[in-house]
Amino acid sequence: MGIHTSVDPETGAVRFLSPEGALCRPIPSSLSDELLVTLYRAMTRTRIFDGKAVALQRTGQLGTFASALGQEAVGVGAAAAMQAHDVLAPSYRDHGAQFLRGMTMAECLLYWGGDERGSDFAGPRLDFPNCVPVATQIAHAVGASYAFRLQRADRVVVTFIGDGGTANGGFYEALNMAGVWRTPTVIIINNNGWAISTPCALECAAPTLAQKGVAVGIEGWQIDGNDVVAVYDTVRQAVEKARAGQGPTLIEALTYRLGDHTTADDATRYRDPELVRREWAREPIARLRAYLLRKGAWNQEKEDALQRESLEEVGQAVNAYLATHSAGCDAMFDHLYATLPASYVSQRDTARRFEPKGGGGHG
């Protein structure tokens, strides 16, 4: 095949690997074969996790869950380009990035399984929790990165938003502040084509979402979000730029949501299955695997081992999650304020009095 251009011929977005896994331009020196394998493994683990989480929801063992199926390259590539002491301000579909940052799969399940302890990551301690309201997290990222600059800390904040979120005023307000203050912030638009059932074309009349940076004086780069090499290399440049005091960057990563919006959604109601089948030919994992196989950096034996290990890892996380008993009713009051105000004591006592005996299971 071999499309020997550096961009997606249809969109003009930055690309290194074609959908067939052919090189469009040389792999940057920042990406060793070893790192590529690491990214491949991380994307595969995320996909296997997603499959299991959806199955848990379908069998009543998990609450509503937002799968990252098809978008693994965006989260994994971006997180790999960050340093451990940087901070992530995710949306609600970014567990691919969070796993690489150190959040455990069991914590992720605990969160979607309805337990606040899932947001109390053992690590990374400064990363923000999932953000369910749309676009509010961009302001947090800007504020956090402002704090780091004021503290003369060598830290960058990376934040994610969906394509739908860029229609929200909160996105523009925060982006504008990042531009004015030149904060060390990297804002990544995870453009998966859909805001639940609304396609991108009904959300925005501009040809790209990256160009929204123009209005606020921020560089906007558009990349092939299914090419983990493009994601990693672009985010790495944006993070380095931010760390060097050169201000924020807006990155639009073009990807595709192969699954439903969440387990509460049924995408067949609004989406042509033929379109989805075509998108499967562009997905990020098979693309990198094809490249690695051709290069001799991967083989079937390693693939089998990875599948086995990942299933085992996910299985252990599921067991840990299912074995975590529901917190007692005091948990509702424990972290409401630093110290429970006196006026709350009688409400907590009421909760204790009506607490079911014996505690709960995972539910």
Binding site: L126, A139, A342
Partner: protein
Amino acid sequence: MAELSLVEAVNHALAYEMANDESVLLLGEDIGVNGGVFRATNGLQARFGRERVIDTPLAEGAIAGVAVGMAAMGLKPVAEIQFTGFIYPTIDQMINHASRLRNRTRGRLTCPMVLRSPYGAGIHAPEHHSESPEALFAHMPGLRVVVPSSPARAYGLLLAAMRDPDPVVFLEPTRLYRLFKQEVADEGESLPLDACFLSREGKDVTLVAWGAMMQETLAAADALEQQGVDAEVIDVATIKPLDMETILRSVEKTGRCVIIHEAPRTAGFGAEIAAEIAERALFSLLAPVKRVAAYDVVVPLSRLERQYIPSVDRIVDAVRSVMEGS
């Protein structure tokens, strides 16, 4: 000790804390060179620099949102919303993030921010400048809502708000900004949050108010004294979490209660206090609890605002009716 107006007391408290805690920073519209439209931040940018006194773009939702991010990363941001009518875009950030960051993360991340805003009617301001939204914020679990009623309380409560490890909405009665001066020792002494203040002792009736309404309420207490009624006056100060014990102790002593607030009557915070009294002190009452509140109307433009704000006469009339009800 200096004689300070309420707005000067706010300025002194901000300056004191900024000088003593380098994690405190201010952000808001026109708060830098201009010193804020009411001059609450006058001179602070010159003293503490542009990095710590930030003139923000005009975007209230993001002002609150970046404050959340700053607070989560170890700063103590004090965000100013220029007028209360413009505070509503912050509610998304305050309810969805500021108020619950500690709870969501089990204390891993916290949000020690202060959201300051001039508040209330009575200064002939244009539309959307005179609202009293304390009940909206009081309804949000995880927030503190504080309303000072004098320069000394503004100084001490604002220091406490900045030192509190949780988010505080600090509503400053615009009408009191320059109404009177008071001796305030600028020595960094804070006042307790979550506590009502007993502003005047009495035995016949308990008057409960906060913020600017303390003016009319204290004047009503004086007028009632002339009529032989000995009113006790409580300044709620921290609306949420509410120190109901102080109010109940007073009501159990006097047997009567009138609650006065400038916000509309229906679902105003007075209803909460009245309900608590009904649940916990009903049999101490000699007469039904009464509320004197603004009408359930849009805050009118300046020609009618004096008829909107509960007057001394309305308070006296309500107290007379509860006295006769016994």
